[in-house]
């Protein structure tokens, strides 16, 4: 029989040494060839999304998946599984009850997922177009080539697909506008400038299944009547740039792109543009400016890019995940796609579930599932079973959602109504040791640096808000600060030039709305309830809880903790930098925080 070893080679697993593991599998299998009954192949796949437990190794067709595989495990896997056909138990995932799990779909992290955009990732070698074809690739494009522009747009309209990059604008409508333009040259673009800190689904798709993005973009090109397209990808995503560049070459060689697409006589040419490292370039008009070789400053709209975009030509820009859904919509029909999801938000959505949850990674689930399901069932709950405090959705443009809203269905409209947004799908989970004022300050600092700086409200508003938030975090908050932050924020929602500015105050406005008491504790109580803001926090050991295990003393980077083994420890306030390392290290909850006065 034939067995295939699938080694995850996404950025996360590579960081954990998966390349060496794949190399060793190849070398040892070649060397052993021992068992003539099994023929083994090694495949390097894209990101499986469960990076925290990487490197991941899957054996097919046995459907056994191993986690945290080390170089030294390779030989045992070959002997036991590849030759012996049995699982290596110690490398299996243990579920919440501690039982080992063999199959990927039995793992509580994967079980509830429904994959459309990520359907191939982890199973195919992204660099082999044959793999993509075997998985039904380029069928959607083939079908689109037999359809008229209006038929393609109608199919996508039926699917109810909305842009996965942020605002959730209906994909078909954008296309329709560009399609109606009478222009000789039109462009289609892929927005791969994933800049939300805490989101990495686009990276995963570009790396792990580049052909699906190309196919989606080719379908977009047919729909709007463009022959040229570009994929704007963050330069930091080196592997994504490499794989997409290679995939374009391959697709051209196989006739899926180029001068005569699948023998239709149609011409579609794509090129990769590397982003320069600017969050604002995720905004369409800024992205277009960057593609033109200019500073990435947004432009006022109208005119909308679909009417006047890159080099003055009608241009549609779609997000990576949006494009990854299109081949499936064309292949299986828009109706089928629309059978999943909610009334206003169809299909599935990929989330990057990160922060203080037990299981972090990429998750694709139908629109409309609750936050609770996402965080507790898939994510396994909060690390260390600490209390949940908030989940930040939508990155810097999104907002923080509190515990009493955990049963909200996750879709475009519900989140927006609560002042947050879906954004590109970042879900950052926070526990009682996350300070909401500091989180707001963090996002505002990020935006103050990432704003293009062109319009007054965004540049100066962020500057002043950052000043005030920093003051609050450092114990210089004043009465009236909360109201002032609110009025600057509300002004920005109207007055800013682009979407970055208009949504920039969301992290502040939602944290004030849902965690006002925390702001007040900082300003009037002179303490940081989460124990994060160092100027407002001091740590102390609660002697009755301390077992004298010395973990805190070991973790302290400045030697402020002292004490004898098995006796209560002490923190020297003069040396303590309030970094909280001791609290993280303590397994007995013996480190308490209190405010700090007179600073």
């Amino acid at each position: 029989m034939t067995r295939t070893v699938l080694v995850c080679c996404g950025t996360g697993c590579l960081a954990n040494g998966s390349k060496a593991i794949a190399d060793k599998f190849e070398a040892l299998i070649a060397e052993k060839k021992a068992d003539a009954r099994t023929e083994c192949f090694v495949k390097r796949t894209g990101c499986n999304g469960f990076c925290e437990n990487g490197p991941l190794v899957k054996i097919m067709p046995d459907d056994i998946i191993y986690y945290k595989v080390k170089l030294s495990d390779v030989e045992e896997i070959i002997d036991t599984t590849l030759i012996g056909g049995k699982p290596v138990e110690r490398l299996l995932y243990k579920d919440d009850k501690g039982r080992p799990v063999t199959k990927q779909e039995e793992n509580p992290f994967y079980a509830p997922q429904l994959k459309t955009a990520l359907r191939n990732i982890g199973f195919i070698d992204p660099l082999k177009v044959e793999d993509y074809l075997a998985a039904g690739g380029y069928e959607g494009l083939k079908k689109a080539l037999t359809m008229t522009q209006d038929e393609i747009i109608e199919e996508v309209k039926q699917s109810g697909l909305r842009g996965r990059g942020g605002a959730g604008f209906p994909t078909w409508r954008k296309w329709q506008t560009a399609r109606e333009q009478n222009a000789e040259v039109k462009y289609v673009g892929c927005n791969g400038d994933e800049g939300d800190p805490g989101a990495f689904m686009d990276r995963s798709v570009l790396e792990g299944d580049p052909h699906t993005v190309l196919e989606g973009l080719a379908i977009a090109a047919l729909a709007v009547g463009a022959e040229e397209g570009f994929l704007y990808i963050r330069d930091e995503y080196a592997l994504a740039v490499k794989n997409v560049t290679a995939a374009i070459k391959d697709a051209e060689a196989h006739g899926f792109l180029g001068d005569n697409v699948m023998g239709s006589g149609r011409k579609i040419k794509f090129s990769v543009v590397r982003g320069g490292g600017a969050f604002v370039c995720g905004e369409e008009t800024a992205l277009i400016a960057s593609v033109e070789g200019k500073v990435g400053e947004p432009k006022p709209r109208p005119p909308f890019p679909a009417i006047k975009g890159a080099f003055g030509a009608p241009t549609t820009i779609n997000n990576v995940e949006t494009l990854a859904n299109l081949p499936v919509i064309l292949r299986d029909g828009g109706k089928k796609f629309a059978s999943v999801g909610t009334e206003g938000s169809k299909g599935t959505k990929v989330f990057a579930l990160v922060g203080k949850v037990k299981r972090t990674g990429l998750v694709e689930i139908p629109m409309g599932v609750t936050l609770r399901h996402l965080i507790y069932d898939i994510g396994g709950g909060i690390q260390g079973d600490r209390p949940f405090k908030a989940v930040q959705t939508g990155g810097p443009s999104g907002g923080c959602i509190p515990e009493n809203m955990l049963d909200l269905p996750v879709d475009f409209d519900t989140l927006k109504a609560k002042g947050a947004m879906m954004g590109s799908g970042g879900m950052i989970v926070m526990d009682d040791r996350s300070c909401m004022v500091e989180v707001a300050r963090y996002y505002i600092e990020f935006l103050a640096e990432e704003s293009c700086g062109k319009c007054t409200p965004c540049r100066e508003g962020l500057r002043q808000m950052l000043g005030i938030l920093t003051d609050i975090c450092e114990g210089r908050g004043k009465k009236g600060d909360i109201e002032l932050l609110e009025s600057i924020g509300e002004m920005m929602q109207d007055a800013c030039l682009c979407a970055l500015g208009k949504t920039a105050a969301n992290p502040i406005l939602t944290t004030i709305k849902y965690f006002r008491d925390e702001y007040e504790a900082h300003i009037s109580g002179h303490r940081c309830p989460a124990g994060v803001c160092t100027a407002l926090t001091s740590f102390k050991v609660e002697a009755d809880k301390c077992k004298g295990c010395t973990m805190c003393a070991k973790a302290c980077p400045v030697g402020a903790v002292s004490g004898e083994v098995k006796k209560p420890h002490k923190i020297d306030p003069a040396k303590c930098i309030a970094c909280g390392s001791c609290r993280e290290a303590c397994r007995f909850g013996a480190i308490a925080t209190e405010g700090r006065k007179g600073k």
Partner: protein
């Protein structure tokens, strides 16, 4: 000598403004910064003013106008890393090497850069030295990792 390499980088691209960013990225990769002559040559190549390119070079974070250290420490300050303690690591590196984000050590060995999200959130907090990823970083691990690169330098 430098001129020859710069010309070679520039000549890989057509004489169009749209390739200016790509050329600068290639220069950055080769030199770890964009030399002044590079900007001047490129302005001539694509037919624009030096000021426009300089504006881009200061706008895009991936581009630098100053030479950087031999080893580049990229510390991720994406949200996931941030709430898992990347700020402590900034302070820790400062204690170890005496540099703040954006700075280079006096001996030219290390440059510390704060980056926005490396998309490796599941491994947070993440530090990358040159091309090597260090996931789940702690203050405890810091001295030995940096020590390795220091040893290498000597």
């Amino acid at each position: 000598m430098a001129d020859k390499i710069l010309k070679e980088i520039i000549d890989r691209y057509p004489r169009e403004r749209r390739y200016a960013l790509a050329v600068m990225q290639d220069m950055q990769r080769h030199y770890s910064y964009i030399p002044r002559e590079g900007l001047e040559l490129l302005a001539g190549h694509v037919g624009c003013k030096v000021a426009e390119l300089y504006s881009m070079a200061t706008f895009y974070k991936a581009l630098s106008l100053k030479p950087r250290g031999k080893h580049i420490i990229k510390l991720c300050n994406g949200t996931a890393c941030h709430i898992r303690g990347s700020v402590n690591l900034i302070n820790g590196i400062n204690r170890e090497l005496g540099i703040a984000p954006g700075e280079t050590t006096e001996d030219g060995e290390f440059t510390l850069e704060l980056v926005n999200c490396l998309g490796s959130c599941a491994l947070a907090p993440v530090m990358v030295v040159d091309e090597t990823y260090y996931g789940k970083m702690t203050l405890e691990k810091l001295p030995s990792i940096l020590g390795e690169y220091r040893k290498e330098a000597k």
